[in-house]
């Protein structure tokens, strides 16, 4: 039974029997938004409108097959009948999986094949409660789950430092209280010393009091500042570490869809924004609110009527702040996105700087940059401008309160109802009070910026890996290397499968050569074995254990890869060879290099195995790099070896050397090799010919040549090509 969505009663009652499948579309057959229902029973498939009126009915006996025709942003369910194809339903991209399943089911029913079982992946990804879409790999709705608010989650990073934070907070309270002393002392000075013209020791005492409070304040501020810096730096470190490990945990598919250079800046700038809020922001906000309370208590104590005047502008300021809050947040994000686009642009053109120069396109790149730059400037002005506009407004409004006190207080002093000192103290306190209030807008700024940053950071942290680690992995030990593909289908974008229905059984120690045109799915095939991606359908097993049940560390420790694009990390050649086995002895490293035909050229380098390679180091040639990476694979001693165009970018002599190295490397290991030059696959036990994601031929070189099929054509095409090359040479 594959009933998915609950059918409306109106339709339920009209069905003769329990449906095998029922699903809701989100488009009508005319392409407008709307709901229709598709039901499939043992006899027929039917389409209904929401009122239960039948729109379409096809007897399954008429059906020859069913499929989905994927468009952009949506698709349609196509039924092939004996009278020609029929469009049975249309839907948006959200429901593609559901209707792919429907197509499979209908196809299986029509052809009398085994009926497919629905998997969790095929459920429509909508939250049952709020009907908002769910994110990939989870059935928990981000809107409906009891969300620990971003701020709380952010603050949880401060938890390990709570002692220090409490200390800083305590010092802050003290500083705040001490800060309140000077205005009071001034009042005492004016009312009790200066006006009565008291020439005793009172003046000196008050001045000393002022001096001591000033000293105390600066000591406490220093200590608090130091704690702040310490906690802040630690916090930053923790955040950066978490973001980076989240990034490393994510699957390759995540990075395929994004430009990687964007993350370099993100890790740093986003954690800085969060840090600023947490240390400066939180301490400051709590300190200031405390100060506001204390000031009000003192002011009310001095003169409650005048204090009320001072409070008049406050509701207005709070209102404005509340109004501005979301706006500022959005503008921060806007500004961030503009910078983000600028960074992506720079990342792109710097990575491709050779191409830019080769085509003489520096001017175009500069003008592209100029456009993006203008956007950043525009957004910068918008956000900073808003902020610059708000600040003086707040000062002015705050100033009105002071004016009111001056006027009313002044009158009282003239009428001798109030002492001058008290008025001066009130004014001093009031200016202290409006300090924090004006800075409310700064706080809004910090907080919005931090929340926007936190949203982005937590988004990365919350993205589930598309190749999830199994909870209790199967223990594999050292594997034999028997690899089996069982009806494997996969597409980088789901529903646009790149490899389809692959069945292949590979014996341990066998060498398989993968051939086919570019885009035939060879590299995807290999990526599947490494489990860079999980199959959409079917399963891959090693020694009979499903890949998904093996821990990724265990799996990768058994697989060695030599790619066309060799990547050497920043470090010495020795470190690069010993990448997967950091405790390798120098002899082991040399042994590996020797097998890889790399030992001799390495020794000839002035710095030998200590030669720095990678971004900042010595430039090795393509062939040299390739041999270092073969040595890296050798020392890894994998049971399964993957060679992806390992000799594509080198000359014939180097290729011969690499070939030799590879021949030694593959001995006794299950090997999958892709090579453009078919001759390099002559050692393969079997060749697998892929065409448009499907296996079309399997066999030895001789068998396939005799067959005169797809492989034969490829070989012929290559011979033609080498003839041309011969003429050129």
């Amino acid at each position: 039974m594959s009933v998915l969505d609950k059918l409306p009663v109106a339709i339920q009652t009209k069905l003769q029997q329990e449906p095998l499948f029922s699903g809701k579309t989100d488009l009508m057959t005319d392409g407008h938004f709307g709901v229709q229902w598709l039901t499939v029973t043992e006899q027929e498939l039917m389409l209904w409108n929401v009122e239960g009126k039948q729109q379409l009915a096809i007897k399954l006996s008429e059906v020859t097959d069913a499929r989905t025709a994927g468009g952009v942003g949506g698709g349609s369910l196509m039924i092939d009948t004996k009278k020609g194809p029929v469009v049975a339903a249309r839907y948006t991209a959200a429901l593609t999986t559901l209707f792919s399943f429907a197509a499979k089911l209908i196809g299986a029913l029509a052809k009398g094949e085994e009926r497919p079982v629905i998997s969790e992946k095929e459920f429509p990804r909508y939250c049952p409660k709020c009907s908002n879409p769910l994110s990939e790999g989870t059935q928990v709705c981000p809107l409906c789950k009891n969300n620990k608010k971003v701020i709380l989650r952010m603050l949880s990073y401060a938890m390990p430092y709570k002692l220090q934070m409490v200390a800083a907070g305590f010092l802050l309270i003290l500083t705040t209280l001490v800060e309140l002393i000077p205005p009071y002392l001034t009042k005492v000075m004016i009312d009790d010393v200066l006006q009565p013209k008291d020439t005793g020791s009172a003046l000196l005492t008050v001045v000393i009091g002022l001096g001591v409070t000033a000293l105390l304040m600066s000591v406490m501020q220093t200590v608090r500042g130091l704690i702040g810096v310490w906690v802040g730096s630690k916090l930053m470190g923790d955040l950066r570490k978490d973001v980076y490990s989240s990034l490393m945990r994510l699957s390759l598919a995540f990075f395929d869809r994004r430009q990687t250079s964007q993350f370099i800046g993100r890790v740093n700038s986003d954690s800085e924004a969060m840090r600023q809020f947490m240390t400066d922001g939180v301490i400051w906000a709590s300190g200031e609110s405390l100060r506001v309370v204390a000031i009000f208590i003192i002011m009310f104590g001095l003169d409650w009527k005048l204090t009320l005047f001072a409070m008049l502008p406050m509701p207005f300021m709070i209102l404005v702040s509340m109004k501005l809050w979301p706006k500022i947040g959005r503008r921060w994000y806007q500004q961030w996105r503009a910078i983000f686009r600028l960074n992506v642009l720079v990342g792109d053109s710097l990575q491709g700087v050779r191409v830019v120069k080769a085509f003489g396109q520096e001017k175009t790149e500069m003008s592209r940059y100029a456009v993006a730059n203008r956007e950043v400037v525009r957004h910068n002005i918008r956000i900073e401008g808003l902020w610059q506009g708000v600040f003086p407004l707040f000062s002015f409004i705050a100033g009105i309160g002071t004016l009111l006190i001056w006027y009313n207080g002044g009158l009282s002093v003239i009428h001798n109802e109030l002492q001058l000192g008290t008025l001066m103290a009130l004014i001093a306190y009031l200016s202290m009070l409006f300090g924090p209030l004006q800075w409310v807008s700064q706080m809004i700024n910090w907080a919005s910026n931090a929340i926007a940053a936190a949203d982005r950071v937590f988004e990365i942290m919350d993205t589930p890996s598309e190749v999830p680690e199994v909870k209790d992995p199967a223990v594999i030990g050292t594997i034999e290397g028997h690899v089996r593909f069982d009806k494997v289908t996969y597409g980088y974008e789901k529903h646009h499968p790149v490899i389809k229905d692959i069945n292949l059984d590979v014996e341990a120690g066998e060498m398989i050569g993968l051939v086919g045109h570019s885009g035939a799915g060879k590299s995807t095939f290999i990526n599947m074995i490494c489990r860079f991606y999980d199959t959409d359908e079917g399963a891959i097993s090693i020694d009979g254990i499903d890949l998904r049940r093996i821990s990724q560390t265990d799996l990768r420790s058994q697989i060695g890869v030599v790619l066309q694009e060799t990547f050497l990390f920043d470090g010495t050649i020795a470190e690069n060879i010993a990448y997967s086995k950091p405790d390798a002895t120098p002899v082991e490293i040399m042994q590996a290099a020797k097998i890889a035909n790399a030992h001799d050229f390495i020794v000839r380098l002035p710095d030998g195995y200590d030669t720095r390679v990678g971004e900042r180091g010595h430039r090795l040639s393509g062939g040299e790099k390739q041999r270092v990476s073969i040595a890296r694979a050798i020392i890894h001693d994998p049971r399964i070896l993957i060679l992806d165009e390992a000799t594509a970018s080198v000359d014939t002599e180097t290729e011969r050397q690499i070939q030799e190295a590879i021949t030694r490397l593959i001995k006794g290991r299950t090997t999958f090799a892709i090579a453009h030059r078919l001759s390099t696959l002559r050692n393969a036990n079997r060749l697998v010919v892929l065409e448009r994601g499907r296996i079309v031929e399997v066999g030895t070189h001789e068998e396939l040549l005799e067959k005169k099929g797809a492989y034969h054509k490829l070989v012929e095409a290559q011979q033609e090509l080498s003839k041309i090359k011969g003429v050129e040479g």
Binding site: G31, G84, K327
Partner: protein, 165 residues
Amino acid sequence: MDDKYSIKVFDPEHILFSRGKGGVFQGIIEGKPYDELVIHRTFPFLYTTRYISVRDVKGDELGVIEDIEKLDDESMKELDKELRFRYFLPTVSRVDSVKQKSDLWIWELQTNLGPTSMAMRNLHEHLQFPGDNRVILTDMNGKRCEIADWEALDAHSRSQLSDVL
């Protein structure tokens, strides 16, 4: 036989498109009937009604239609309809609201194909700006909507958009 490495541009006179009984797009291409045809916009952003690649069910290109305006009325109507089905890209006529709830951006939109809502995890990966004032919105499930010219929308929509674009 045409050279297989050159783009075949159809003579509009020799092309007929229609819709089969089952609602399937079909046609007669240079005298040969096909009971199902697949079409692709070659420049989906730049030229929505021009340079349409016509393919058979297997995906092999039969040729390219330079401009659908040059076809006869019936063919043009069906091709245009099929393009709308294949490129499901409703045009936004009004932006009711753009809200950030929890960690999702929720867009409530009115489109030429009816009201809809879209949800995005963030804005920087789900908005595209192909040029001028055009915006392509893609939601988490791959559903797309198009704002042809955001400055031409009504004041309410513009104010909703001003801080998110």
